[in-house]
């Protein structure tokens, strides 16, 4: 049995892989022709592409009407898009009926928001704590003041001890400050708000409110305290068991019934509250999934080191759990962004609502207006969603390279 003894004398050399594994040929094999079904799909699509892609490009470019004062040109050129319509309605699609002289306020709010979000999301940025503090605690008030304008607070309620007596000087000071600002920032009623501005605002408020609320609900659902757990479970299950439209209707019609007339929430605020509360329930389940997928050892490890509950959650469990469920969270936010189109049902003019209104303009009505409008709306929603998911992929990649080999 001399075969039983084997001793390698020279190392086996590393050879380069065969051509079928690497290069364009390898890529095509792996991605386009990996199986019979995949090959068939590739061939069918490749056969159809020369027929429909040129048509699509022609419709969107050289057959389209790019500028026109009204719908006459679009009504004659029926096999091209009517981009002139979008161009003419652009302001309305962005701002709704927000007064034109005050558009700078929306732009300024948007610019502030973009700078702060960029600061927060940019990986190597300095002073992130400051950015977070500004974004969560200062920005909402600035945004309210800019968008809504300086409100008239009126005299303090006489029957309230806290506002009428204790905080009366503060009330007066604030009231005076607002009065000084009023000429520069006249109030703009929320009924005039609309367009892309409203879609982004509802999404942003939804995200900013629902993320912390969702985390708290997730922790509540895993709590060992029966009352906390029962409340969290009830909230999550009730909200998840109800369609979003119902939540919107309830927020719109029921919220005013629960509070005195003087404090009845603004008709714009109600759907905002509804959206955020709705999103929080879904987010809570997402976060709970992340918390549950952590090995028990992570909790025991932090407990054994003497970390208290909130420390263990904040420093050990949540950073890992949230990183695990980023795809799900972003999925929720994308859903939230698209769900904002439903606020049109309770009388808000979001981007899609503004588009619908614009399409009703008789000056422009014509056979190509509907298609153009909806294609444009589709592209808008797609671009925003794609940007969100691209960001999420970037984050996932960064976390993966940092932590695991």
């Amino acid at each position: 049995m001399s075969d039983a003894v084997f001793v390698r004398n020279a190392p086996a050399p590393a050879l380069s892989p065969p051509a079928s594994l690497v290069g364009p040929l390898g890529w095509a094999r792996a991605n386009l022709f990996s199986s019979v079904a995949s090959s068939a799909t590739t061939l069918i699509l490749a056969g159809l592409a020369p027929w429909f892609i040129p048509q699509l490009i022609a419709w969107a470019t050289w057959k389209a009407i790019w500028s026109a004062p009204d719908g006459a040109a679009c009504r004659t050129a029926q096999d091209g898009a009517c981009w002139a319509f979008i161009g003419q309605k652009w302001e309305y699609l962005l701002y709704g009926s927000y007064p034109e002289s005050e558009h700078w306020r929306v732009n300024l709010t948007g610019a502030f928001g973009a700078i702060l979000i960029g600061w927060l999301l940019w990986t190597g940025a300095p002073r992130k704590a400051l950015a977070a503090a500004l974004f969560f605690f200062v920005y909402p008030f600035v945004a309210f003041l800019l968008l809504h304008g300086a409100p008239n607070m009126g005299p303090p309620p006489a029957d309230s001890f806290i506002f009428g007596r204790l905080l009366a000087p503060l009330w007066a000071g604030l009231s005076n400050a607002l009065a000084v600002m009023r000429p520069a920032l006249p109030p703009v009623d929320t009924i005039l708000w609309g367009g892309v501005f409203v879609s982004l605002l509802v999404t942003l408020v939804g995200i900013v409110v629902s993320l912390p609320l969702g985390v708290l609900l997730a922790l509540g659902r895993r709590s060992t305290r029966p009352v906390v757990r029962a409340l969290s479970v009830t909230y999550i299950e009730v909200v998840r068991g109800v369609p979003f439209i119902t939540v919107l209707f309830m927020a719109n019609n029921l919220l005013p019934l629960f509070v005195p007339d003087a404090y009845a929430p603004d008709r714009f605020l109600r759907p905002l509250v509804g959206t955020a509360l709705f999103a929080a329930a879904y987010l809570a389940e997402e976060v709970r999934g992340g918390l549950q997928s952590l090995p028990k050892g992570q909790y025991e490890g932090s407990a054994a080191l003497g970390l208290g509950y909130w420390q263990a959650m904040r420093l050990v469990a949540l950073p890992q759990a949230l990183a695990l469920v980023i795809p799900g969270i972003v999925n929720n936010f994308i859903g939230l962004f698209k769900d904002t189109t439903l606020v049109a049902i309770v009388g808000m003019t979001d981007f899609l609502g503004a588009m619908d209104n614009a399409m009703k303009d008789t000056v422009w009505s014509g056979p190509t207006i509907l298609v153009t409008g909806y294609v444009f709306a589709g592209i808008f929603y797609y671009v925003v969603c794609a940007a969100m998911s691209a960001y999420a992929r970037g984050v996932e990649k960064r976390l993966a390279t940092g932590r695991n080999r």
């Binding site: 407990a303 970390l307 050990v316 080999r405």
Partner: protein, 252 residues
């Protein structure tokens, strides 16, 4: 060696008539034992004998239902404050390391000193580097746990526990999840720690380690302590039938 043996007199850990149940299952039965300061105890026994449960009761990762456990003379109660105080003083090393994968090795070591002991960051980092040097992996401080071998991870876990400057260290099968070639480096670290005078309770199947380091070996079976003895007589002349059967199975 910077770990000071506690100043208080009396035993480091004391079990008095401890009983524990998981549902209807009687997991720990009438445990009476006391661990002196600076003493090294090795707990062994077949799987399911309650040895891990026993040491997990010391820092209240498990609750006991009857009897008293005193750590540094302080009785373990339900009060979260007393539990956290005990955990600050009792370090634990787990079978599966339980390092925090989202933090670097250095951050793993400084997390609890900074947040629980409220140490300044620079001081906590200096201490952590000193202990990482002691477990011979200071060069890995900037890496994430996932980039280290099992043996290295377990040594980081030991350093992390020592960063809290505990007076008692618990080891729950620290080498059971390791590839065989990495067991030695972890045991060497533990031997060094034992020689420094640390009070240690170690659940392990490493009988060579027990023989070399333990002051007493505790043999458990079916939730009860069956035999306690110094290592030499324990291994050479076991008294109880169950001890004999167990030893004959693991020592071939």
């Amino acid at each position: 060696m910077s770990q000071s043996v506690g100043k208080k007199a009396g035993p480091a850990v004391e079990f008095v008539g401890v009983n524990k149940w998981y549902g209807r299952f009687h997991a720990l039965r009438d445990i009476n034992m006391s661990v002196a300061r600076g003493e090294r105890i090795v707990v062994c026994g077949p799987s399911g004998s309650g040895k891990s449960t026993l040491i997990r009761c010391v820092n209240k990762l498990e609750d006991h239902q009857q009897g008293a456990i005193r750590v540094d003379g302080v009785e373990l109660t339900e009060s979260p404050r007393s539990v956290e105080a005990i955990r600050r003083d009792v370090g634990m090393v787990f079978q599966n390391f339980n390092l925090f994968p989202h933090l670097t090795v250095l951050e793993n070591c400084t997390l609890a000193p900074i947040w629980v002991r409220k140490k300044p960051k620079a001081e906590a980092e200096a201490k952590a580097m000193e202990l990482l040097a002691r477990v011979r992996i200071p060069e890995q401080a900037g890496k994430y746990p996932g980039q280290l071998s099992g043996g290295q991870q377990q040594r980081v876990a030991i350093a992390r526990a020592l960063c809290m400057e505990p007076s008692i260290m618990l080891f729950d099968e620290p080498t059971s999840a390791l590839d065989p070639e990495m067991v030695r480096e972890v045991l060497d670290t533990m031997v060094e720690l034992a020689r420094s005078g640390m009070t240690m309770m170690v659940v392990t199947h490493e009988m060579g380690f027990a023989r070399e380091i333990a002051d007493r070996v505790v043999f458990m079976d079916a939730g009860e302590i069956v035999e306690v003895n110094a290592p030499a007589p324990f291994f050479d002349a076991p008294q109880h039938e169950r001890t004999k059967a167990f030893l004959s199975q693991i020592l071939r």
